[in-house]
Symmetry: C2
Subunit: 210 residues, 2 copies
Protein backbone atom coordinates (compact mmCIF):
# COMPACT_ATOMS: atom_id res chain seq x y z
CA UNK A 1 0.00 0.00 0.00
CA UNK A 2 1.29 3.38 -1.16
CA UNK A 3 4.46 4.80 0.33
CA UNK A 4 4.99 3.28 3.75
CA UNK A 5 6.31 0.01 2.44
CA UNK A 6 9.60 -0.14 4.24
CA UNK A 7 10.22 2.85 6.41
CA UNK A 8 13.51 2.59 8.26
CA UNK A 9 13.50 2.24 12.03
CA UNK A 10 15.41 5.52 12.25
CA UNK A 11 12.43 7.32 10.78
CA UNK A 12 9.85 5.36 12.78
CA UNK A 13 11.58 6.14 16.06
CA UNK A 14 11.46 9.85 15.24
CA UNK A 15 7.71 9.88 14.63
CA UNK A 16 6.65 10.07 18.29
CA UNK A 17 8.89 13.09 18.69
CA UNK A 18 7.28 14.87 15.74
CA UNK A 19 3.93 14.03 17.22
CA UNK A 20 4.87 15.54 20.56
CA UNK A 21 6.20 18.79 19.16
CA UNK A 22 3.28 19.19 16.81
CA UNK A 23 0.83 18.52 19.64
CA UNK A 24 2.51 21.27 21.62
CA UNK A 25 2.41 23.74 18.76
CA UNK A 26 -1.22 22.84 18.25
CA UNK A 27 -1.96 23.45 21.93
CA UNK A 28 -0.41 26.88 21.51
CA UNK A 29 -2.87 27.52 18.69
CA UNK A 30 -0.14 27.85 16.09
CA UNK A 31 -1.70 26.75 12.85
CA UNK A 32 1.13 26.74 10.34
CA UNK A 33 4.80 25.85 10.48
CA UNK A 34 7.62 25.50 7.96
CA UNK A 35 10.08 22.63 7.95
CA UNK A 36 12.80 25.15 8.79
CA UNK A 37 11.07 26.40 11.92
CA UNK A 38 10.01 22.96 13.07
CA UNK A 39 13.56 21.76 12.57
CA UNK A 40 14.87 24.64 14.67
CA UNK A 41 12.55 23.82 17.54
CA UNK A 42 13.38 20.14 17.38
CA UNK A 43 17.08 20.67 16.86
CA UNK A 44 17.31 18.70 13.63
CA UNK A 45 17.79 19.72 9.97
CA UNK A 46 14.96 20.95 7.77
CA UNK A 47 16.01 18.37 5.20
CA UNK A 48 15.41 15.60 7.68
CA UNK A 49 11.97 16.91 8.55
CA UNK A 50 10.94 17.04 4.90
CA UNK A 51 12.48 13.67 4.06
CA UNK A 52 10.86 12.01 7.07
CA UNK A 53 7.41 13.41 6.36
CA UNK A 54 7.62 12.57 2.69
CA UNK A 55 8.04 8.91 3.54
CA UNK A 56 4.33 8.98 4.26
CA UNK A 57 2.96 11.57 1.88
CA UNK A 58 3.10 15.19 0.77
CA UNK A 59 1.54 16.85 3.76
CA UNK A 60 2.85 20.34 3.08
CA UNK A 61 2.04 23.10 0.67
CA UNK A 62 4.78 24.77 -1.34
CA UNK A 63 5.33 28.36 -0.42
CA UNK A 64 3.29 27.96 2.74
CA UNK A 65 4.51 25.15 4.97
CA UNK A 66 2.56 22.58 6.96
CA UNK A 67 -0.75 22.88 8.76
CA UNK A 68 0.08 22.03 12.36
CA UNK A 69 -3.26 20.48 13.27
CA UNK A 70 -3.49 18.54 10.04
CA UNK A 71 0.08 17.24 10.24
CA UNK A 72 -0.38 16.27 13.87
CA UNK A 73 -3.45 14.22 12.93
CA UNK A 74 -1.64 12.63 10.01
CA UNK A 75 1.17 11.45 12.26
CA UNK A 76 -1.32 10.27 14.85
CA UNK A 77 -2.87 8.10 12.15
CA UNK A 78 0.48 6.92 10.85
CA UNK A 79 1.43 5.82 14.37
CA UNK A 80 -1.97 4.22 14.73
CA UNK A 81 -2.84 5.96 17.99
CA UNK A 82 -6.53 5.69 17.17
CA UNK A 83 -6.36 1.97 17.69
CA UNK A 84 -7.75 0.18 20.67
CA UNK A 85 -5.32 -2.69 20.94
CA UNK A 86 -6.14 -4.93 23.86
CA UNK A 87 -3.18 -5.35 26.18
CA UNK A 88 -2.46 -7.38 29.26
CA UNK A 89 0.22 -6.69 31.82
CA UNK A 90 2.25 -9.50 33.34
CA UNK A 91 3.90 -8.62 36.62
CA UNK A 92 2.42 -6.21 39.15
CA UNK A 93 5.65 -5.40 40.95
CA UNK A 94 7.01 -1.89 41.21
CA UNK A 95 7.71 -1.63 37.52
CA UNK A 96 4.43 -3.17 36.41
CA UNK A 97 2.54 -0.96 38.79
CA UNK A 98 4.33 2.11 37.46
CA UNK A 99 3.56 1.11 33.88
CA UNK A 100 -0.10 0.51 34.66
CA UNK A 101 -0.54 3.70 36.65
CA UNK A 102 1.69 6.07 34.75
CA UNK A 103 0.84 5.50 31.12
CA UNK A 104 -2.09 7.05 29.34
CA UNK A 105 -2.78 3.96 27.26
CA UNK A 106 -5.91 5.37 25.71
CA UNK A 107 -3.91 8.13 24.03
CA UNK A 108 -1.37 5.62 22.80
CA UNK A 109 -3.70 3.27 20.97
CA UNK A 110 -4.01 0.67 23.71
CA UNK A 111 -6.41 -0.50 26.34
CA UNK A 112 -5.15 -2.39 29.34
CA UNK A 113 -7.71 -5.08 30.01
CA UNK A 114 -6.02 -7.24 32.64
CA UNK A 115 -3.03 -7.60 34.97
CA UNK A 116 -1.51 -10.80 36.25
CA UNK A 117 0.94 -11.68 38.98
CA UNK A 118 2.07 -14.95 40.52
CA UNK A 119 2.44 -13.41 43.96
CA UNK A 120 -0.61 -14.12 46.12
CA UNK A 121 0.09 -10.92 48.04
CA UNK A 122 -0.53 -8.85 44.93
CA UNK A 123 -3.53 -10.76 43.60
CA UNK A 124 -6.73 -8.86 44.26
CA UNK A 125 -5.10 -5.43 44.51
CA UNK A 126 -6.17 -2.80 42.03
CA UNK A 127 -4.10 -0.97 39.42
CA UNK A 128 -5.92 1.88 37.76
CA UNK A 129 -9.22 0.14 38.34
CA UNK A 130 -7.99 -3.23 37.13
CA UNK A 131 -7.89 -6.06 39.64
CA UNK A 132 -4.69 -8.09 39.58
CA UNK A 133 -5.43 -11.70 38.71
CA UNK A 134 -3.50 -14.79 39.65
CA UNK A 135 -1.19 -15.94 36.89
CA UNK A 136 -2.91 -19.33 37.05
CA UNK A 137 -5.92 -17.67 35.41
CA UNK A 138 -3.85 -16.54 32.45
CA UNK A 139 -4.62 -19.46 30.15
CA UNK A 140 -8.30 -19.24 30.81
CA UNK A 141 -8.30 -15.48 30.26
CA UNK A 142 -6.47 -15.86 26.96
CA UNK A 143 -9.01 -18.38 25.80
CA UNK A 144 -11.92 -16.11 26.57
CA UNK A 145 -10.54 -12.74 25.41
CA UNK A 146 -8.93 -11.26 22.35
CA UNK A 147 -5.47 -9.97 23.26
CA UNK A 148 -3.24 -7.99 20.90
CA UNK A 149 -0.16 -7.51 23.02
CA UNK A 150 1.43 -8.27 26.36
CA UNK A 151 3.50 -5.95 28.52
CA UNK A 152 6.12 -8.00 30.34
CA UNK A 153 7.19 -6.51 33.65
CA UNK A 154 8.52 -9.69 35.20
CA UNK A 155 12.08 -10.79 35.99
CA UNK A 156 14.10 -12.30 33.20
CA UNK A 157 14.00 -15.80 34.63
CA UNK A 158 10.20 -15.79 34.66
CA UNK A 159 9.76 -14.72 31.06
CA UNK A 160 10.30 -17.96 29.18
CA UNK A 161 7.52 -19.81 30.96
CA UNK A 162 5.00 -16.98 30.53
CA UNK A 163 6.10 -16.26 26.98
CA UNK A 164 5.56 -19.86 25.87
CA UNK A 165 2.06 -19.70 27.26
CA UNK A 166 1.24 -16.35 25.62
CA UNK A 167 2.73 -17.38 22.31
CA UNK A 168 0.68 -20.58 22.32
CA UNK A 169 -2.38 -18.33 22.49
CA UNK A 170 -1.18 -16.46 19.42
CA UNK A 171 0.12 -13.33 21.12
CA UNK A 172 3.03 -12.07 19.07
CA UNK A 173 3.47 -8.44 20.10
CA UNK A 174 5.44 -7.64 23.23
CA UNK A 175 6.49 -4.61 25.20
CA UNK A 176 9.34 -6.16 27.09
CA UNK A 177 10.98 -4.66 30.18
CA UNK A 178 13.17 -7.66 30.89
CA UNK A 179 16.47 -8.70 29.36
CA UNK A 180 15.05 -11.93 28.04
CA UNK A 181 15.61 -12.14 24.28
CA UNK A 182 12.11 -12.86 22.98
CA UNK A 183 13.06 -12.79 19.32
CA UNK A 184 15.72 -15.42 19.83
CA UNK A 185 13.05 -17.86 20.97
CA UNK A 186 10.26 -16.85 18.58
CA UNK A 187 11.49 -15.05 15.53
CA UNK A 188 8.05 -14.09 14.25
CA UNK A 189 7.32 -11.86 17.22
CA UNK A 190 7.27 -8.08 17.28
CA UNK A 191 9.19 -6.90 20.29
CA UNK A 192 9.76 -3.44 21.66
CA UNK A 193 12.33 -3.58 24.43
CA UNK A 194 12.78 -1.13 27.28
CA UNK A 195 16.13 -1.77 28.86
CA UNK A 196 16.36 0.63 31.76
CA UNK A 197 19.70 -0.62 32.97
CA UNK A 198 21.21 -0.34 29.48
CA UNK A 199 20.08 3.26 29.43
CA UNK A 200 21.66 3.97 32.80
CA UNK A 201 24.90 2.25 31.77
CA UNK A 202 25.02 4.49 28.73
CA UNK A 203 24.69 7.52 30.99
CA UNK A 204 27.51 6.11 33.11
CA UNK A 205 29.75 5.72 30.09
CA UNK A 206 29.07 9.24 28.96
CA UNK A 207 29.68 10.68 32.42
CA UNK A 208 33.07 8.97 32.35
CA UNK A 209 33.96 10.19 28.89
CA UNK A 210 32.38 13.60 28.53
Amino acid sequence: MSKNDSISMSVIRRLPRYYRFLSELNDQNIDKISSTKLAQIMNVTASQVRQDLNCFGGFGQQGYGYSVSQLKEEIKNILGLNNDYKAILIGAGNLGKAVAMHMNFEKLGFELIACFDNNEQKVGSKLNGITVKNESELDDFCNKNHIDTAFLCIPRVCVENVLDKLYSHGIKNYWNFSHYDINARYNDTMVENVHLSDSLMTLCYRMNNN
Copy 2:
Protein backbone atom coordinates in the same frame (compact mmCIF):
# COMPACT_ATOMS: atom_id res chain seq x y z
CA MET B 1 43.58 9.43 25.85
CA SER B 2 44.31 6.46 23.60
CA LYS B 3 41.57 5.08 21.39
CA ASN B 4 38.24 6.06 22.89
CA ASP B 5 38.37 9.62 21.67
CA SER B 6 35.13 9.82 19.80
CA ILE B 7 33.23 6.59 19.88
CA SER B 8 29.92 6.85 18.05
CA MET B 9 26.68 6.59 19.99
CA SER B 10 25.81 3.50 17.92
CA VAL B 11 28.77 1.71 19.43
CA ILE B 12 28.21 3.05 22.94
CA ARG B 13 24.61 1.90 22.98
CA ARG B 14 25.72 -1.61 22.07
CA LEU B 15 28.18 -1.89 24.96
CA PRO B 16 25.62 -2.79 27.65
CA ARG B 17 24.41 -5.60 25.45
CA TYR B 18 27.91 -7.01 25.05
CA TYR B 19 28.31 -6.75 28.78
CA ARG B 20 25.12 -8.68 29.39
CA PHE B 21 25.92 -11.52 27.04
CA LEU B 22 29.49 -11.80 28.29
CA SER B 23 28.27 -11.86 31.89
CA GLU B 24 25.97 -14.71 31.00
CA LEU B 25 28.69 -16.67 29.25
CA ASN B 26 30.91 -16.07 32.23
CA ASP B 27 28.22 -17.34 34.60
CA GLN B 28 28.09 -20.48 32.47
CA ASN B 29 31.82 -20.88 33.07
CA ILE B 30 32.65 -20.50 29.41
CA ASP B 31 36.12 -19.04 29.29
CA LYS B 32 36.80 -18.34 25.63
CA ILE B 33 34.71 -17.15 22.74
CA SER B 34 35.36 -16.13 19.15
CA SER B 35 33.82 -13.07 17.52
CA THR B 36 31.94 -15.44 15.21
CA LYS B 37 30.29 -17.34 18.04
CA LEU B 38 29.53 -14.24 20.08
CA ALA B 39 28.00 -12.66 16.99
CA GLN B 40 25.82 -15.71 16.46
CA ILE B 41 24.49 -15.61 20.01
CA MET B 42 23.86 -11.87 19.82
CA ASN B 43 22.44 -11.97 16.33
CA VAL B 44 24.88 -9.48 14.84
CA THR B 45 27.85 -9.83 12.46
CA ALA B 46 31.29 -10.95 13.56
CA SER B 47 32.69 -7.90 11.80
CA GLN B 48 30.64 -5.64 14.00
CA VAL B 49 31.80 -7.38 17.15
CA ARG B 50 35.44 -7.01 16.19
CA GLN B 51 35.04 -3.43 15.01
CA ASP B 52 33.18 -2.45 18.16
CA LEU B 53 35.68 -4.00 20.52
CA ASN B 54 38.61 -2.57 18.64
CA CYS B 55 37.34 0.92 19.30
CA PHE B 56 38.66 0.40 22.80
CA GLY B 57 41.62 -1.87 22.34
CA GLY B 58 42.82 -5.22 21.08
CA PHE B 59 41.26 -7.51 23.65
CA GLY B 60 41.48 -10.70 21.62
CA GLN B 61 44.20 -13.08 20.67
CA GLN B 62 44.67 -14.13 17.07
CA GLY B 63 43.95 -17.76 16.44
CA TYR B 64 42.24 -18.09 19.81
CA GLY B 65 39.48 -15.57 20.35
CA TYR B 66 38.55 -13.57 23.43
CA SER B 67 38.76 -14.49 27.08
CA VAL B 68 35.18 -14.16 28.32
CA SER B 69 35.98 -13.08 31.85
CA GLN B 70 38.68 -10.67 30.76
CA LEU B 71 36.54 -9.10 28.04
CA LYS B 72 33.61 -8.80 30.41
CA GLU B 73 35.79 -6.92 32.88
CA GLU B 74 37.19 -4.69 30.15
CA ILE B 75 33.71 -3.66 29.08
CA LYS B 76 32.70 -3.16 32.67
CA ASN B 77 35.57 -0.72 33.01
CA ILE B 78 34.85 0.97 29.70
CA LEU B 79 31.26 1.53 30.82
CA GLY B 80 32.53 2.75 34.17
CA LEU B 81 30.40 0.41 36.24
CA ASN B 82 32.98 0.46 39.01
CA ASN B 83 32.11 4.06 39.75
CA ASP B 84 30.13 5.18 42.72
CA TYR B 85 28.38 8.18 41.25
CA LYS B 86 26.09 9.82 43.77
CA ALA B 87 22.56 10.14 42.46
CA ILE B 88 19.37 11.70 43.72
CA LEU B 89 15.87 10.84 42.62
CA ILE B 90 13.27 13.54 42.09
CA GLY B 91 9.70 12.29 42.18
CA ALA B 92 8.55 9.38 44.31
CA GLY B 93 5.41 8.58 42.34
CA ASN B 94 4.82 5.22 40.73
CA LEU B 95 7.61 5.64 38.26
CA GLY B 96 10.12 7.04 40.75
CA LYS B 97 9.27 4.29 43.19
CA ALA B 98 9.77 1.66 40.49
CA VAL B 99 13.12 3.15 39.52
CA ALA B 100 14.29 3.27 43.14
CA MET B 101 13.11 -0.22 43.99
CA HIS B 102 13.78 -2.03 40.74
CA MET B 103 17.27 -0.95 39.74
CA ASN B 104 20.44 -2.46 41.08
CA PHE B 105 22.30 0.85 41.15
CA GLU B 106 25.35 -0.58 42.79
CA LYS B 107 26.00 -2.83 39.81
CA LEU B 108 25.51 0.07 37.44
CA GLY B 109 28.05 2.47 38.90
CA PHE B 110 25.65 4.54 40.96
CA GLU B 111 24.53 5.05 44.51
CA LEU B 112 21.15 6.52 45.22
CA ILE B 113 21.66 8.82 48.18
CA ALA B 114 18.33 10.68 48.42
CA CYS B 115 14.79 10.92 47.09
CA PHE B 116 12.60 14.00 46.95
CA ASP B 117 8.94 14.64 46.37
CA ASN B 118 6.75 17.71 46.71
CA ASN B 119 3.77 15.68 47.86
CA GLU B 120 3.45 15.74 51.66
CA GLN B 121 1.75 12.35 51.51
CA LYS B 122 4.90 10.77 50.12
CA VAL B 123 7.39 12.58 52.32
CA GLY B 124 8.65 10.31 55.06
CA SER B 125 7.91 7.04 53.26
CA LYS B 126 10.83 4.75 52.51
CA LEU B 127 12.16 3.59 49.15
CA ASN B 128 14.77 0.88 49.40
CA GLY B 129 15.82 2.20 52.77
CA ILE B 130 15.91 5.82 51.69
CA THR B 131 13.45 8.19 53.31
CA VAL B 132 11.68 10.49 50.88
CA LYS B 133 12.46 14.11 51.67
CA ASN B 134 10.38 17.17 51.00
CA GLU B 135 11.44 18.96 47.85
CA SER B 136 11.86 22.11 49.95
CA GLU B 137 14.97 20.46 51.41
CA LEU B 138 16.54 20.03 47.98
CA ASP B 139 18.61 23.21 47.98
CA ASP B 140 19.97 22.53 51.39
CA PHE B 141 20.79 18.94 50.51
CA CYS B 142 22.61 20.02 47.36
CA ASN B 143 24.67 22.44 49.37
CA LYS B 144 25.74 19.82 51.85
CA ASN B 145 26.34 16.84 49.55
CA HIS B 146 28.24 16.04 46.41
CA ILE B 147 25.80 14.94 43.71
CA ASP B 148 26.83 13.61 40.32
CA THR B 149 23.49 13.06 38.68
CA ALA B 150 19.75 13.41 39.11
CA PHE B 151 17.06 10.97 38.05
CA LEU B 152 13.97 12.93 37.07
CA CYS B 153 10.73 11.02 37.57
CA ILE B 154 8.43 14.01 37.73
CA PRO B 155 5.82 15.29 35.30
CA ARG B 156 7.02 17.42 32.42
CA VAL B 157 5.51 20.62 33.79
CA CYS B 158 7.46 20.25 37.03
CA VAL B 159 10.85 19.74 35.44
CA GLU B 160 11.86 23.30 34.57
CA ASN B 161 11.63 24.54 38.12
CA VAL B 162 13.55 21.61 39.58
CA LEU B 163 16.07 21.58 36.74
CA ASP B 164 16.95 25.24 37.26
CA LYS B 165 17.60 24.52 40.89
CA LEU B 166 19.73 21.44 40.23
CA TYR B 167 21.67 23.13 37.47
CA SER B 168 22.43 26.08 39.74
CA HIS B 169 24.08 23.56 42.06
CA GLY B 170 26.25 22.35 39.20
CA ILE B 171 24.41 19.12 38.44
CA LYS B 172 24.75 18.48 34.72
CA ASN B 173 24.00 14.79 34.28
CA TYR B 174 20.40 13.67 34.05
CA TRP B 175 18.46 10.49 33.64
CA ASN B 176 15.23 11.95 32.41
CA PHE B 177 11.90 10.11 32.32
CA SER B 178 9.88 13.16 31.28
CA HIS B 179 9.37 14.74 27.89
CA TYR B 180 10.94 17.98 28.96
CA ASP B 181 13.84 18.88 26.65
CA ILE B 182 16.68 19.47 29.10
CA ASN B 183 19.32 20.09 26.45
CA ALA B 184 17.27 22.83 24.87
CA ARG B 185 17.44 24.79 28.11
CA TYR B 186 21.01 23.94 29.12
CA ASN B 187 23.15 22.78 26.26
CA ASP B 188 26.09 21.74 28.39
CA THR B 189 24.15 18.99 30.13
CA MET B 190 24.48 15.26 29.59
CA VAL B 191 21.03 13.78 29.26
CA GLU B 192 19.89 10.21 28.90
CA ASN B 193 16.19 10.13 28.11
CA VAL B 194 13.76 7.31 28.75
CA HIS B 195 10.62 7.98 26.79
CA LEU B 196 8.25 5.16 27.65
CA SER B 197 5.37 6.51 25.62
CA ASP B 198 7.59 6.94 22.55
CA SER B 199 8.56 3.32 22.90
CA LEU B 200 4.94 2.22 23.11
CA MET B 201 3.99 4.38 20.13
CA THR B 202 6.73 2.68 18.15
CA LEU B 203 5.24 -0.68 19.05
CA CYS B 204 1.85 0.63 17.96
CA TYR B 205 3.24 1.70 14.59
CA ARG B 206 4.88 -1.64 14.05
CA MET B 207 1.74 -3.55 15.01
CA ASN B 208 -0.12 -1.55 12.37
CA ASN B 209 2.49 -2.12 9.69
CA ASN B 210 3.92 -5.57 10.35
